[in-house]
């Protein structure tokens, strides 16, 4: 049965290879190849899932050893796959949501002449992401880790003819590279500490502990912090979050799949997977929670200020992942809920993005929400699915977001102590803000008067992302319409998921029991009862919605963004953190390199050329002595003779 793991990865990989190498002759059928192959791997995932369910809770781990990858002396890296409950969860999420989004893309990218390549990249991403979650050791995971980075680079920059897209792609890759640095250092540390970096030996299983126990806490903290750095890069956590907003330059399905549902959650996976290490390094855990909490608020605030619908959603993604990281930082109390929120978030956030894509599809690729409004009667399906996703994410009781997020807030309080209160408070506040900005998005898009009627041209401030906007200045009056079936069906499915997912998981602690063997779990002692917390959450939610309604529901929304308060303006610019990067890193780096280039030319090379010039000049001087007059030669001869005599006399004297 474990032999099915490799095909699981191989299928999309094959697709990528075929589509990218195949050339133009595949242009017509290419996208369907991609879709089929992703569904194939989804099917394989389901089969394996069934197989796992058939086993006892303790033995739900399949490993498949393919071949020895890098065998050098003590350094043994194998290509081995490990399928346990955790990775199984991810496999289903990835392949499931992935397949849906493949399907959606067929419609969305219908008019792009490079659609074949797009699906090639998507398949490549699937393969890499599966490799990431199925790897049995950190080095192999690293391969997948960078693989998804590459795929995201290619997809963000898919419309390469746009400088903004190319830049965004580059930025994403670079920021991720910083994270990858953390990961590779972590691996090196593991190797020097444990002499291995495979999950089995290092982390151990729930019955027999791994090598982690033997290592010093300081060393473990170092490893954990490096892993956290990696997670920050991939999951767009502060301080490495800056790339996610720009990543919205990519086509919307990409934003849905990679930058909302799957890839950005890889960081959470890494932390949860390395739980054993984090459990042994409380300081690192604290750092994780802090990062999570900060990002949670950061993303939420940014989300409030953006008028670009995708960027607003990106902000929300950031903050939702903040929730997950926060939960993961709480240790065994939170691991399960982190993953659970990850899955539910995968549903509703993907749904929301697809909805946004569908809206843009119908709106001439307009992304500025101030140019939307009153769309609910033009695109009902989109409205409904998007609405359900909205309710889910703000944690409307009964929907999936409610369950998962509520659990996380409880867990945060349950951490105990002042930090418990702080974290819990942050989480609550985050819930309120979430409610606010999501409502804002909802209202600005689907309610209010139709601001697109008198929209002259796409505002230069928010350049629209999609390719049709490339057709220059002339702007046709948008006539909103519902998207084709191939796009709406995935949205519907995801909506269903986001409605019932949470309930399905939580009732009877299904998800908890499923994951517990891998991640371990313990109920922290919350200072407040679950009921109180839930109530508080509800209150926050209502407050948030109310404020949003007061601002965007009652009053008409101005078609041009008002100047706004200082905070708003800062938030529009990602809280100035990009400007910081620009000034410090980019400018500084440019100056550094420029001065270095100058130094290399003038100093290092100058020494060499200087020596050469010196010799040239010297020989020029010496040449003067040869003036061609026999008599001056005679003088030198005579002088020489005199010297000889002197020498002989001296010799005699001494």
């Amino acid at each position: 049965m474990e032999n099915l793991i490799a095909p699981l990865i191989a299928a999309p990989l094959l697709g990528a290879a075929v589509l990218l190498v195949g050339g133009r002759r595949l242009d017509r059928a290419g996208h369907w190849i991609g879709v089929v192959l992703s569904f194939v791997s989804f099917a394989l995932g389901l089969v394996l899932f069934a197989d796992l369910l058939g086993k006892g809770a303790g033995h739900r781990t399949l490993t498949q050893h393919l071949f020895s990858w890098i065998p050098v002396a003590g350094f043994q890296a194998d290509v081995t796959f490990r399928l346990d409950q955790l990775s199984m969860t991810f496999v289903l999420l990835i392949t499931g949501v992935g397949s849906l989004i493949h399907l959606y893309s067929v419609g969305y990218m219908a008019h792009d002449e490079r659609r074949r390549r797009f699906f090639g990249y998507l398949n490549l991403f699937l393969a890499a992401m599966l490799l990431l979650v199925l790897a049995d050791n950190y080095l192999l995971l690293y391969v997948g880790w960078e693989g998804v980075g590459l795929a995201s680079y290619l997809l963000i920059g898919f419309w390469q003819h746009k400088p903004s897209a190319a830049t965004a792609a580059k930025k994403a890759f670079l920021v991720n590279r910083v994270g990858d640095m953390g990961l590779s250092i972590a691996i090196m540390l593991m190797f020097t500490t444990f002499g291995s970096f495979a999950f089995g030996p290092v982390l151990g299983t729930h019955e027999e502990p791994g090598l982690v126990g033997d290592a010093s806490e300081g060393r473990l903290t170092a490893i954990a912090l490096m892993l956290l750095l990696a997670a920050c890069g991939k999951s767009a956590q502060v301080p490495l979050q800056s790339w996610l907003g720009d990543a919205m330059e990519g086509p919307t399905p990409v934003s849905a799949l990679i930058h909302a549902a799957t890839m950005v959650t890889a960081g959470v996976y890494l932390i949860v997977r390395s739980g054993a290490i984090f459990n042994a390094a409380p300081d690192a855990q604290l750092a994780v929670t802090v990062v999570g909490a900060v990002t949670l608020l950061f993303g939420a605030i940014v989300g409030c200020a953006k008028d670009d619908i995708k960027k607003a959603l990106a902000g929300s993604t950031m903050s939702q992942i903040g929730y997950m990281v926060l939960a993961a930082g709480l240790g065994p109390i939170g691991y399960v809920f982190a993953i659970m929120h990850l899955v539910t978030h995968g549903f509703f956030k993907a749904g929301l993005f697809l909805g946004a894509g569908s809206v843009m599809h119908g709106m001439n690729d307009e992304v500025d929400m101030r140019r939307y409004g009153g769309l609910r009667k033009y695109m009902p399906v989109t409205f409904i699915t998007f609405g359900l996703g909205y309710l889910a994410i703000i944690g409307f009781p009964g929907l999936s977001g409610f369950f998962s997020k509520d659990k996380i807030i409880e867990a945060a309080f349950a951490k105990g102590g002042t930090e418990g209160w702080i974290l819990g408070g942050a989480a609550l506040l985050g819930a309120a803000i979430t409610a606010f900005y999501m409502t804002r998005v909802m209202l600005m898009t689907f309610f209010g008067e139709e601001r697109w009627r008198d929209a002259p041209t796409p505002s230069p401030a928010e350049p629209s992302v999609e390719p049709a906007a490339e057709t220059g200045g002339e702007h046709t009056e948008p006539h909103p319409h519902e998207s084709p079936k191939v796009m709406t069906i995935p949205m519907i499915v995801l909506a269903v998921g986001s409605v019932f997912g949470g309930a399905f998981f939580s009732i009877g602690d299904r998800f908890l029991n499923w994951l517990e063997p891998v991640t371990g779990h313990d109920h922290g002692d919350a200072p407040l009862s679950a009921g109180v917390i839930t109530g508080a959450t509800m209150v926050c939610l209502v407050v948030g919605v109310a404020i949003a309604w007061a601002q965007y529901g009652r009053k008409p929304v101005p078609a041009v963004a008002p100047r706004g308060s200082l905070l708003t303006r800062a938030a529009r610019r990602d809280l100035l953190q990009d400007d910081f990067n620009h000034v410090v890193l980019v400018r500084g780096g440019e100056h550094l390199t420029r001065s270095l280039v100058y130094l290399d030319h003038s100093l290092v090379d100058g020494v060499v050329n200087g020596t050469a010039a010196g010799f040239g000049g010297l020989s020029g001087r010496l040449r003067r002595l040869q003036n061609g007059f026999a008599r001056s030669y005679a003088v030198s001869m005579f002088g020489g003779a005199a010297l000889l005599v002197a020498a002989t006399l001296l010799m005699r004297a001494v």
């Binding site: 040449r623 040869q626 061609g628 008599r631």
Partner: protein, 99 residues
């Protein structure tokens, strides 16, 4: 008087001759100075032969004269032909090999 004085004289003449070689431009005069140097040497040789009481020194001086004669003959011939071609007997003009 100490006959070593002959040697001093020889040295003096030799030096004078050498200096002459260096400062005169006229090839013929240069030649004369060379002859002067040779003669100085001869004087030294003769004085030596007297000191050592054998005639070898004189023999050497004799050979020197012969060689000097040959040298003068050839040298002057060279000067003449040089003068014919370049209408000048200045050693400074014979600098064709200068870059």
């Amino acid at each position: 008087m100490n006959p070593v004085n002959y040697l001093y004289l020889a040295a003096l003449l030799f030096t004078i001759g050498a200096t002459g070689v260096l400062i005169r431009r006229n090839a013929i005069v240069v030649f004369m100075c060379v002859e002067l140097m040779l003669n100085a040497c001869n004087l030294a040789f003769v004085a030596f032969s007297r000191m050592h009481g054998n005639l070898d020194g004189q023999i050497i001086a004799f050979f020197t004269m012969v060689v000097a004669a040959a040298e003068v003959v050839v040298g002057l011939a060279i000067i003449v032909s040089l003068f014919r071609t370049r209408h000048s007997a200045s050693v400074d003009d014979a600098s064709l090999m200068k870059l």
